[in-house]
Symmetry: C2
DNA sequence: CTGAAAGCGCTAACAC
DNA sequence: GTGTTAGCGCTTTCAG
């Protein structure tokens, strides 16, 4: 593979001039520039970014870490980030990590001097946060406290809207299929808000109204099915169910229908994420979500240093589709 | 960030010894090894892989290039590859490229000295194939001819099975919604096989029985819907439809149902890819696909040099679900 | 078993 | 405008 030195020789200039032409930075006489560019084009020279990264002590990589890949929501996030990443010349690497996999993934990420990390899985152990800070990586949702406030998702408005809507249609007994382990759930504002709302309306919240599960160890669709099956087995009565993500909601609906229940006549189902195919199902799935495009854009802008350090707030929106139209008998 | 030299100093050894401990290669006295390891653990030293890659002239990255991201099929592929990649310590970078985006993506990939490239989009221009070969990258489906034979998917058996099945249920008029541009379609064996089979059975193939479209410029779901709407508008009669991927088939089914047609009673629909949620729809979507796990495994094994150079053949399988059960009136 | 020397291909900082 | 000099942090090679 031809390198800078050879290009320089062929163009009768020094390495530095080639560098200037390639990077577009610094002064180069127009005719020199053209001569060098010609050699570059003719030889098909492609700069070695590994060397460039070594010197500049950073790379153009953004790591995105997710707990599972079966969920199309993450694809949407990746797509949105990629669109924005292209503008800054960033490249995306995807990692799947949950629990014990996290350390090795973080070591990999640090040892590659990524420019930023967007985290959708568990919070990082402090030592890795420190390592990431040392390499100058920008972190999104990496740790507790300050860090996690960067780009926070506000579900309260949309959840209130959805719950008001359900109540207005006569729903009283509402459940929340968290589906995930308590450890994971503890990083989330949705279950707490749900409880708070129920209390506020004077609606009783009983043991078992919040259903935990082993997502993301098992995939969301399966976890949703299991939750519904369990409820059917117990013969529990309820008017509406929130599921922590759309895939879980879809699994839940499927099991309910297999069990002879009608959605939304017997119970409303509402998911989170607004995955693109939500409206391809029967009934169309009602959901709550922030705009993925916006989220991706904000993430990348923040990593590129083009957003305020403070951390933007993204408000989720309620999409009232068929599955939410509970009918009080 | 602490580097190898410092670790060496703290452990009273040379850089080289630290390298040996880190890499696990070469002889190191057990007590030296332990002493060095202790320093590594205490300092939290994380090697700089960028420097390592520069010297060794390669990286542990695999690039996967797809035409679009809205399709969950690619997520499945990524997931399967990632599972296998982990074993060899590879990291996956995802790129979306179609037409004019391809050159810049390939330059990026080459300049980062990737270990391998798995291609799901258009074939690469020869100059980039050359560049990739120069950096020693292993290519899967990168170019025409030899290269594309590495890991080829054989659809003929499954397609024959599916078409035999449809004919046995009385289907005569079958269409193929290729949905993509002719350029893209020309890399594919499915439309040719479809035509060949029809000819073989003496079934007439008319102009317009193969429906082209602008996928992947528009997403598959939308393209599938458009195709169905167009057919409804034309009032065309048909017994069965193949769609080039499941998302397209889902869009097609949705538009058909909106137009008052019943699937599979009025027409069978069969997709390709076997995306995980195929069975969550109504009717459950019949499909043709190879095992994604297997495909991912083969790709990574090949890049790691653990597979025969020849290129494995993967045979697709027919999954006869509800949407295929056409009923002859 | 361990270390010293010589770069990998590029860029930063300064001279000319 | 252009060139020279030093490395970036690591591995390779060869000498002890």
């Amino acid at each position: 593979m031809i390198d800078r030195k050879e290009v320089a020789k062929l163009a009768n200039v020094s390495c530095m001039t080639v560098t200037r032409v390639v990077s577009g930075k610094g002064y180069v006489a127009e005719k020199t520039r053209r001569r060098v560019q010609k050699v570059i084009d003719e030889t098909g020279y492609i700069p070695n970014k590994i060397a460039a990264n070594l010197v500049s002590r950073k790379s153009n990589r953004i790591a995105i870490i997710v707990p599972e890949l079966a969920n199309p929501y993450y694809l949407q996030v990746v797509e949105a980030m990629m669109a924005q990443a292209k503008k800054y010349g960033y490249v995306l690497s995807i990692f799947k990590a949950y629990e014990e996999e996290l350390p090795e993934v973080l070591e990999e990420v640090i040892s590659n001097r990524v420019a930023g990390v967007v985290n959708y899985t568990l919070r990082f152990p402090p030592r890795y946060i420190k390592g990431l800070e040392e390499i100058g990586a920008r972190l999104i949702r990496a740790g507790e406290g300050k860090e996690s406030r960067k780009l926070s998702l506000d579900y309260s408005g949309a959840m209130r809207e959805a719950m008001d809507f359900l109540i207005s249609r006569g729903a009283r007994k509402m459940l929340f299929v968290a589906g995930l382990t308590e450890q994971f759930a503890s990083y989330d504002s949705r279950v707490p808000f749900f409880c708070e709302y129920m209390r506020e309306k004077g609606l009783r919240l009983e043991a078992g109204d919040i259903l935990y599960g082993d997502y993301p160890l098992r995939d969301a669709y399966a976890v949703g099915q299991s939750a519904a099956e369990e409820l059917l087995r117990q013969g529990r009565r309820f008017d509406a169910v929130f599921c922590i993500n759309d895939m879980m909601a879809l699994g839940f609906m499927r099991a309910m229908k297999k069990g002879g229940r009608r959605i939304p006549e017997d119970a409303a189902v509402i998911g989170f994420d607004n995955i693109r195919m939500s409206d391809a199902f029967e009934p169309e799935l009602a959901t709550i979500a922030a705009d993925t495009e916006e989220e991706g854009r904000l993430c990348v802008d923040f990593i590129a240093g083009r957003a305020e350090q403070k951390g933007a707030k993204l408000a989720a929106v309620f999409y009232p589709r068929q599955s939410a139209f509970f009918v009080k008998r």
